[in-house]
């Protein structure tokens, strides 16, 4: 938003595109180039969307779509407090729209098994995959990208209370799933 004070950092570490997930989102300088933003955020957003959508291919397209739109409106988007959150939301909306239009009523955990290649805690992973996408999309931001509740709320354009509610309900559902095992 115009006129707001911004925290401005884009460090070398955050520009790495290896396999690490940062502990917090990158805050973008107002004049940061689109390339730097893309380099800093692309992989993380792609991974987050992969988990949220349960489909790597769809996530790849959605990530591209989000960045394309960000690029088109970079002058404005770059001034947002959290451009990555905007891209995530746009990409998620795009993917959901795509899914609705194509009636791809996929069972998420099956998709995970096929295309994401889940590893690690299988029970928990499957339970995550069975969460409604509304829950999964905030869980990913909160626990994978490790954004604060407020940052998730801003990114998803939701009231903070809604985010907290979704997280709480998601955790309850995950807990129930784990206990039933």
């Amino acid at each position: 938003m115009a006129g707001r004070e911004r925290v401005l950092r884009v460090t070398a570490a955050t520009l790495s595109t290896g396999g690490s997930i940062r502990a917090a989102r990158v805050v973008v300088e107002p004049d940061v180039t689109f390339e730097a933003f893309y380099r800093a955020e692309g992989d993380d957003l792609f991974r987050a969307l992969s988990v949220a959508l349960g489909d790597v291919d769809l996530a790849r397209e959605a990530t591209d779509e989000g960045f394309v739109r960000a690029y088109q409106h970079w002058r404005k988007v770059s001034r947002y407090d959290n451009p990555a959150g905007w891209v995530y939301r746009v990409a998620l909306n795009w993917a959901r729209s795509r899914l609705r239009k194509t009636k791809r009523e996929v069972v998420t955990h099956q998709v995970h098994e096929r295309s994401v290649g889940w590893s690690g805690d299988p029970t928990l992973i499957q339970a995550i995959g069975e969460l409604p996408i509304e829950f999964r999309s905030v869980v990913v931001l909160r626990y994978l990208l490790q954004w604060s509740t407020a940052e998730v709320a801003e990114a998803m354009d939701l009231p903070t209370g809604t985010v907290k509610s979704r997280l709480s309900r998601a955790l309850n559902q995950l807990r129930s799933a784990l206990e039933s095992e």
């Binding site: 595109t17 390339e35 690029y71 404005k76 939301r89 626990y143 354009d157």
Partner: protein, 687 residues
Amino acid sequence: MDPELESRLRESLGRHARRLPTLEGSVGDVRRRGRNRRWAVRTAGALGAVAISGAIAISLNRADGGQTVATADGRGDAGDVIGVAPTPTPTVAPTPTPVPVFVPPESEADLVDPPGDVTLLVATGWGSGLVDVFGNVYVPDVCCEDLDLAWYEQDRTQAASGAVRVLDDLRGGLVSASGNSLYWLPADRLGEGAEPVVAAVHVDESDGDGGDDDGDGGGSYELELWDVIELDDRVEVLYSVQKVSADGSEGSALLVGHSLAGGDSEVLARVDWSPDTGPGDVWAGAAWLPEGGWMSLKSNLDRTCEWVEFAGAGADLYSSPHQRPEGDDCPNPSMIAGAVSDEGLVVVSERYLFPEPVLGVYDRAGNRLGDIPLDGTEPGEGHWSELDIVGRDVLVSRGEGMDPTRWPELDETYLIDIETGDARPIPYWGAPSFARTEIAVDQLTAIEPTSPLYFGVETDPAGPEPGPTPDEAATPTPVGTPTTDEVPPETREPTGRLENVLAPGALAGDDGCLGTICLGMPLDEALEAATAAYGAEDTDTPEAELEGTLPPPSDHVFVTDAERVTVTGADGLVTELRSFPLADQASSPLGPLGVGEVLAALGAPAEVFVGDGEGIRALWLLYDTEASLVGYGFVEPIDDDMALGDEALGDGALGDEALGDPPDDRLLPDYDALPVNAYWARPAGTP
């Protein structure tokens, strides 16, 4: 919260994420996006390292329909133009060239009725809906979609067509085929939870298993509905059934006439095939003939390379094999799809035979009357996948291999006039993107305007009011239609139409302005002014939602802020402007969104679309001539570039719980975005 669980989540998600691929290293591909509106270009090893090499190129739509390709690579600043794509062929109403040569004989022409007062039904197998000849889509709340999907679910593996056909002569009865069964739902049983009658079941007695359709170890059935005729004492269905063995080497095909009321079936024709004879015939169309008898269309795949055959039981009908051109190896069937009209006119989608896919038109004796050439693709590639005939029009849908730059509406169907070749797109809604390669249009039929299914919205248990006829819809006279043709924007005066309708509020002043918004102002400027006045912090409107193609002529965009309503005409300029009457806020079904303003400006009946702000769907409202809400539901954008997601209505405001199950798959007109706090609206039945 649960710290232990949260920790476990972080650890598990993080570990998993590290194993996910990255964008970097993706092998280059060029993919069309959003109906070819933009491309994202990847080069090997580029994504994720944008600054290193030509990394991401984005094409931006130009006003003239062309695309400017910009790059965000390391060779210059983001936004450098590296190429300009040519202006594509117009995306709306592509006109095949050259002009078709087909001119039906006068006697034939007399037999074929023009589309006239019909509504078309398109059943996709993944949902269904009613599409009128102008492309308006209506989804009734009484039938079709749920039933179709439910039936489809009965046997997903076998119901290749998912066909459902509305029997217009039965005033809304339905016939559907799934697996090996023919289902019938009489009109008087329509409604939620209705159970169809199993009208016929096909079993293969030759395998000696007592009739179980899987007794041969995995063979499958496929029923295709072709025609229904209502006679004085009975209703007869014409359909084909194919049984294919598990390995596909053997099978049989039947053409069956079935009396729904009497339950009698007659096998009109039968074809068997085996490894010795080749893969056999496939029914591609059939119709009852007005004078009695029937006619069918088959694609013969056997080794004689006959590629299309007409057959009928009438005295003047005969089989008419058509040979491929000499020298053709005929490795594949040439006829992709065909249809037979009620009068025996045959249209065939042909492949390989001609440099470009064409629609061949034949009379019932097999004489080729002419072509409808379609300038659509490279020689030898592409085809029209499904087609049907309605009156003098042929409905086709794009098939695999069609050049998307020439036929950009990937998922859409076209209604092509047989005589003139004029093609107009019927926006195709809700179809899975992959359907274009296989099944895009399964069934098409005409529905009388008096049918309960016509127009799709039924609120009166005693019986629905018939919707407007297409003739009426073809010439709408919306109250709010801007009159911008003759008066330059700078001098345009308020029309006063709103004043005639609404008592409260005030029109623009003598200076043509109301606050910071003035008549003649472009939409984006008006939005900016409205946003600024309302407070940028709260109504930030993404630029993306202000750009792109404005709604087509006769459409209106309504933008409200806290104080004003802005009505924008087809030219994108503000043509109406007035203050926001609080009375209407209170009475509106949408509260502060002021639908009353929209209706007042547009006139009734009208349809109003309100974006959900998430780009997922929009609320659709239908108002009758009394401006009463008679229909509502959710619709999905046909365009990927729907609103990107600002807080127009807030989370959950459009939840299913509040408004009931949506009539899914309604059509939104093709537009780029609904601005925040904006409506898109049109007179009901607007072409």
